[in-house]
């Protein structure tokens, strides 16, 4: 086996070596190139594949979102009931009025004549957009015309605003049942005891009940950016 290769080999010498060593070196070069490419892409982590604005390049922490209440405090009634009444008490926070001065309604409405006419509201309550079956529905389907401090069920029973779920349940029976059993809506407190429910109106504006879209919190860091994200924070 003659593998001697002289640095100054002439043309004929090179040609003699062609079938053996030069194809081998060609293979070697190709192999090296491939492994370098692979290594490179591993080291780079394929970061080029992700668009710059695709998200997941920065690590956020809960502290970056002061508007979100992560330390949720229980209602005082729930906390008190948890220690005194293990069987469970259900608390519902007060109904959400658009501003504090708006209730009781009778402060204004007691002296006013009831206007049964369907119309566009002006002067007062013009912020209300009725988007809850507007063709079939009007104020007095739910609000009691004679004493505005109450709501009125279809059968004529008057209920307070803190019992509005009964009114909603007239049509949304299955949801009402799920809510009562704790399957619909947010509950807080003790899974084996006292807890708080929300009224339908705490999440769904009764005049426009579809749940409003919200801004999502940012995505997790993509694996290839984990180190970059960590270094950025340490630089700061």
């Amino acid at each position: 086996m003659d593998h001697h290769e002289t640095p100054n080999a002439d043309e004929s010498g090179n040609r003699k070596l062609l079938p053996g060593s030069s194809s081998l070196s060609l293979l070697l070069i190709v192999f090296l190139a491939f492994s370098l490419l692979t290594l490179f892409s591993i080291v780079k982590g394929g970061m080029g594949e992700v668009a710059d604005d695709a998200g997941g390049t920065r690590a956020y922490s809960p502290a970056d979102f002061p508007d979100v209440d992560f330390d949720r405090k229980l209602l005082p009634e729930v906390e008190a009931a948890a220690t005194s009444d293990p069987e469970g008490t259900y608390r519902v926070p007060p109904p959400p009025f658009s501003n504090e001065d708006i209730f009781p309604c009778s402060e204004c409405h007691a002296d006013m004549e009831v206007n049964h006419e369907r119309r566009v509201l002006e002067d007062m309550h013009d912020d209300i957009v009725l988007n809850h079956g507007p063709k079939e529905r009007w104020c007095f389907d739910c609000h009691n015309p004679d004493d505005r401090d109450y709501l009125r069920l279809a059968n004529g029973t008057l209920i307070g605003f803190d019992e509005s779920y009964k009114l909603c349940g007239q049509c949304h029976g299955t949801i009402y049942r799920d809510w009562r059993e704790g399957i619909h809506g947010r509950r807080e407190g003790y899974w084996n005891g006292a807890k708080s429910y929300l009224l339908c109106a705490n999440c769904h504006d009764p005049h426009s009940p579809h749940f409003k879209a919200i801004e999502p919190l940012p995505p997790p860091v993509r694996p290839q950016y984990l180190r970059v994200a960590a270094e950025e924070v340490h630089d700061e």
Binding site: G55, I183, R186, W191, P219
Partner: protein, 303 residues
């Protein structure tokens, strides 16, 4: 092989002696340099087999260590499972809007590392047209507002399997299923081999590549030995259904933060619980049912 070997042959005997001496030197150096607590923890029995006094001693030590490190009083409990309780979890896919409040509430509650980032919950965005297609899902969605009209969202965390593959593969039994169904990790016993991570079909286990980066002001001082106490570097961690809360009767943090109330939690053994109502009245499914992991985490569509 090389000329070097022929010049200075190393026989088996001297190699073994040399290796042994080096190892002993390394060990004694470590022992001399480490704190007493560290050695004690290294040599002690597994936590679950200790007597109550020794357990309390370890908890006190941990409390002292964490309080010192974070400059505030940190409590480490080891609340046992309640009798007659097996936890179950429900998630209403028809309600979830993919807002990721749960992801960050979980980080906040369970002292996950902020940077490098660890998230126990991962919210997958899926196309309504395709249905549940894990391979096509996207966890990095970032629209201005959610929900997007053509998408739905599937949050995934530990499924607390009844037949957990992660527990089976652990070579040191550092992870197991407690009586209330929570799959827990003793991070003092974990050797960081990450077999459980590769065994978990849900990607629910996460590794601490470094000491967790948590600013002292953000630490949650209410912790559990098997749950959210600050983890050391080089161990695996995962969702424990908020073991420090749920074993005291509270809902998990993700249940309470969810703005649409999509997350449900309760006792599977109590016929009047929310979970039992859910299983009776709704059509539920579990992720990757074909793997026979038998999760305690049920997804459902309420409408």
């Amino acid at each position: 092989m090389s000329e070097f070997d022929h010049e200075r042959p190393v026989d088996r005997r001297s190699l073994l002696i040399g290796t042994g001496l080096t190892a002993m030197a390394a060990i004694s150096a470590t022992v001399a340099g480490a704190s007493n607590q560290f050695i004690e923890r290294l040599l002690r029995e597994r936590f679950s087999e200790l007597g109550p006094e020794r357990k309390q001693q370890i908890l006190d030590d941990l409390e002292r260590e964490y309080s010192e490190r974070y400059g505030r009083s940190v409590e480490v409990a080891d609340t046992p499972p309640m009798d007659g309780v097996e936890f179950g979890y429900g998630l209403d896919l028809s309600r979830c809007v993919g807002c990721r409040r749960c992801v960050y509430a979980c980080v906040h509650e369970n002292n996950q590392s902020r940077n490098p980032q660890i998230h126990w919950i991962r919210v997958l965005r899926m196309e309504k047209e395709q249905g549940i297609e894990l391979a096509e899902s996207n966890a990095y969605y970032e629209p201005a507002e959610v929900p997007e009209p053509d998408a739905f969202y599937l949050p995934v965390a530990c499924q607390q399997c009844r037949n957990p593959p992660c527990v089976k593969v652990c070579p040191v039994k550092a992870t197991w299923q407690d009586a209330d169904g929570i799959v827990v990790i003793d991070s003092d016993w974990c050797i960081g081999c990450r077999c459980c991570m590769s065994a978990c079909p849900y990607g629910a286990r996460h590794f601490n590549w470094t000491d967790p980066g948590i600013p002292a002001a953000e630490i949650n001082p209410n912790t559990h030995y098997l749950g959210n106490r600050p983890r050391p570097k080089g161990v695996v961690e995962k969702c424990t259904f908020c073991i420090h809360r749920t074993r005291k009767g509270r809902y998990p943090a993700c249940v309470e933060i969810c703005p649409v109330g999509a997350r449900k939690f309760g006792n599977l053994l109590d016929e009047s619980s929310e979970m039992r109502y859910l299983l009776r009245e709704k059509r539920v499914f579990v992720l990757k049912e074909e793997l026979n992991t038998r999760p305690r985490f049920y997804y459902f569509y309420a409408t």
